[in-house]
Assembly symmetry: C2
């Protein structure tokens, strides 16, 4: 049976314990949210001794299930004040799971301020090592150093200087098969929680681990076959399909065409330089430059979608991995920056320093609107991350604390956040369903919480008119299904296939059931997801969140966005329907 | 009949209108809160076009009522997100009232960002003048310039650079009889709202104004006689009484003795250098230095308590006015600074740049805890205000946005705020009633919202054991009575006398009734106050505030404060009782 690893940073003890019954059937987000809801006082200070950092692989992570290497990081968010789960790909999920560990709960508070530790976990247990010489180091160097010290191939979870400074846009980094520092549980500032715990990095070596116990192997194999077939068949997820060929940034042209590609701090829905920064452009540049550049690259072993990429300098040498749609948009179009080399550098800097790229780009755009820089000033933007955030200057502390914080610093009214978290790359005044998700997600503005873009823009999982404001039910259905997927360990991109191919969805839930020994069917997905949402909403309510927080920023209601010149016209009543279950 | 002046900053129009019935019987805080609750969308951006800045003299302001020159400033607070009323002494209240103006409502949003205006109000109406040459100027210079231009004796309401930058600890300044810039509606960042409206200053010349209409002159004269007699009789408020002799800073030794004088960011309840910064010490220095220094000084004509002072340089020249208890504590003991000349300079700098001294001191202390400066570093503290805030550097923007903001910038967990506003100079772990007021006030931590220090420490208005956590009813009684006093226009210091002398209380309410032509008696004070509190709570609830926000910061529950080593042990249930009316 898998165990739970409880790590206390006050007295530097780490001990395994049996998984308590309330956590037994959960993985990933379900696990982190149930632990947070039960063990963390909702009105605790997110950086204080009573918050916890909960880490969990998904239910099927570490098995042969395809594309299931997500690690969830949860706790109370210092960015939003809500409960938070943020998940990443990379090496950690499978290795934690294969050591027979269902979740890691990091609690307490370091006695000595400013002292950082490394936690090493392998089949023999967990031990603390001083991380003094890693303090101040960026994640690229940390990853290199830790492979040298602890063996090539170990999984690394870590924070850059931003997390050490406890900046509330600090993410948690996970290394990938090439040991680059590009996989992030970025959203919600969980890197600051890790920093507040005095933990610089976790190294996971699964050599000799027991592997993941699967209750019903026959059923499991049948289930992953169904899911694999669906994934390899669907146009979005198949080999040489949209994601595999162009990566997530295939969306740039699509969203721009729809007029829903936010530009220059959400002041327009189309970017005149989109052709220079799209997924198509990136692929062309990568192919032309040769060298180590590649598309169709996996972020963890066992991924069959392989949507990642390695972007190169003109000489073909490694520049950054990965140029995702959201990152390119945030640090590109949203800042008026139209050059992929500039954007690659900004992405690299965020990954190294330890910031969420979405929040960082939204932050810089708000600072630009506030007069700190001109829109399009790539050099100025780079200095903010490379110099200011890295060295913790006062300006770096402003930028590193995210969009709403920076808006307040510079007196900006047009701040595109919900519950303190910046909106991603979809204009909610144009695509109303994603606006409903932003407003009502348990975790602040987050496209992954209920990706209604699928039916509203991509005609995946049905078709919905993006301008129609009646989206409460659609968003609820996506939010609950997503809470389940985030629990399973499967990558959210599996959803594209299973939304259209029923057997795929069956395979997804049946593989989870087979691991756990339950009888879950597709009918259980909604209720299981809602159980997670209810726990999260309960935490938030006790932390002081009400329906007044389930709203988009005021300016989106009175300011029409070109080219469609629409405002966000979903009624408050409709927003309040989303969680009326 | 008095009128309402509605000022629109979008099209630069100012027009008088009849006072709508729902506002007719209110003045001061009652007026600003009723207008805000009815006219301001609770979830608007505080610095956006839909917030309003409401200015109102009290019911009896401008009459012969003693010590009644308070001006209330209200709207949605950019510091707390709640409704806000903050009031100041100085010249403005009486002059606005004597022009027959019951309230000024400033709305809209300037078309041209960064452009500032001056609003001049006199018996002929209101006009806009460009304030371009005042931009960036401190309030001392602004006051001097405006008396030169608009006549000696005019009232001035204005903002320093902090308000222009829309920093959320920017206060609104009112000049006093000597035209010094020391009277502040400091709390809650209303100066940022004024700045967001593009209004640098308001000049009020009441020459030839109609004066305040009093419905029943005979009753009025009898009433103010009762209040005056009470005020001149009570030990705290009488001539050569505690306030008149030493000013409000007479409290320093008293609170220090009680162990409830917060020191070095609320890490202790006694300050070893209190003897150097107490009211007694200040008086001795002022007397020894001679020159223009004085104690027992009024902040507006007609004050019979006269608790203010003018503090001097060693050569007897003007340094600052006024050294209040709260300001000296915030910028002194709470920052570990024990020299009155340093503190006077910090107070002057806050007054000139346009910051609330309480919030500024709490902010600097949190920055000190976060490692920016050492506790006691007066020079460093001065540079923060004089240089950084004044010039809007990134560090100045952090400091100028207050305590909670600065805590987040520097990753500090021990942040003594409620609803985003810093606690004043009374340790709530020692004096539990004031902690209940901090937690449950409609406006964030605020001693003036329900000053239970009177019975808990000063034996005024009865006696209550400060350590007894059963303080819900006491705080409620003080909060409702205070809401009435803040509405009347009387200075809160009148309360000392009327708490102990029933005739004084009668005089207070009867004078208000005589002005308005109502039949209010002392029995109406509680219900009237609760009507104000209900309107404020309604606004806050719609803005997303719940009982989860009616709490002290977490660290005060687990960290005992020396010398008494007590924590804040008032139960949540008791806190929730305060507003159960």
């Amino acid at each position: 049976m898998s165990k739970l690893l409880r790590v206390n940073m006050t007295d530097l003890k780490a001990a395994f314990e049996e998984v308590p019954e309330p956590y037994r059937l959960w993985g990933g987000r379900g696990f982190t949210s149930m632990v947070t809801a039960r063990e963390v006082p909702p009105n605790c200070h997110p950086l204080g001794p009573n918050n916890k950092l909960v880490i969990a692989p998904g239910i099927v992570s570490g098995t042969a299930a395809p594309t299931s290497g997500r690690t969830s990081f949860g706790g109370k968010s210092p960015l939003t004040g809500t409960i938070k789960e943020s998940n990443a790909g990379g090496l950690s999920s499978q290795k934690i799971a294969r050591l027979g560990i269902k979740g890691i709960i990091i609690e307490g508070h370091p006695e000595e301020a400013g002292k950082f530790w490394l936690l090493k976990i392998n089949k023999d247990g967990a031990e603390f090592l001083p991380a003094t010489d890693l303090v101040g180091k960026g994640m690229y160097e940390v990853c290199r150093t830790l492979w040298e010290r602890h063996g090539k191939g170990v999984a690394i979870i870590g924070i850059g200087p931003a997390g050490e400074y406890r900046l509330t846009n600090a993410g948690i980094c996970v290394n990938d098969p090439e040991n680059t520092a590009g996989r992030y549980a970025g959203r919600g500032g969980m890197g600051a929680v890790m920093g507040a715990k005095g933990l610089k990095a976790i190294v996971i070596d699964d050599t000799g681990g027991p592997g993941v116990a699967v209750a019903d192997q026959t059923r499991f194999r049948a289930a992953i076959k169904k899911l694999t077939e669906a994934s390899l068949k669907h146009d979005v997820t198949k080999k040489e399909g949209a994601l595999n060929t162009y990566g997530t940034n295939v969306l740039a042209n699509i969203m721009n065409e729809a007029g829903g590609y936010p530009t220059r701090n959400f002041s327009g829905g189309r970017f005149e330089m989109v052709g220079q920064i799209s997924g198509e452009a990136a692929r062309e540049i990568i192919q032309k430059r040769g060298g180590v550049g590649t598309t169709g690259h996996p972020c963890h072993p066992g991924c069959i979608i392989q949507c990642s990429n390695i972007f190169t300098y003109p000489d073909g040498k490694f520049h950054t991995s990965v140029l995702e749609y959201e990152s390119v948009w945030a640090l590109g179009a949203n800042c008026g920056i139209g050059n992929l080399d500039d954007i690659a550098d900004l992405v690299w800097a965020c990954n190294d320093v330890g910031l969420d790229t979405i929040e960082a780009g939204a932050t810089i755009a708000v600072a630009m609107e506030g007069g700190l820089l001109e829109f399009g000033d790539a050099q100025g933007a780079k200095e903010l991350i490379h110099e200011d955030v890295r060295h913790g200057t006062p300006l770096g502390r402003i930028i590193g604390n995210g969009t709403e914080f920076t808006g307040r610093a510079f007196g900006v009214v047009r701040v595109p956040t919900v519950k303190g978290q910046a909106m991603p790359a979809y204009e909610p005044r144009v695509v109303k369903g994603i606006g409903v998700t932003y407003a009502t997600s348990t975790m602040g503005a987050d496209h992954t919480a209920g990706y209604t873009i699928a039916p509203e823009i991509l005609s995946v999982g049905g078709k919905a008119d993006p301008f129609n404001p009646q989206k409460a039910e659609l968003s609820r259905a996506f939010q609950s299904a997503t809470a389940f997927i985030d629990t399973s360990g499967y990558c959210l991109f599996d959803a594209f296939a299973v939304l259209d191919i029923p057997e795929g969805l069956e395979g997804m839930v049946e593989s989870c059931a087979a691991v756990l020994g339950t009888n879950w069917t597709v009918n259980d997905i909604g209720p299981l997801g809602i159980e997670v949402l209810k726990a999260e909403r309960g935490f938030n309510e006790a932390a002081g969140f009400t329906k007044a927080h389930d709203r988009l920023p005021e300016f989106m209601k009175y300011e029409p966005v070109p080219p469609h010149n629409t405002t966000f016209d979903v009624t408050d009543e409709d927003l309040d329907k989303v969680h009326a279950y």
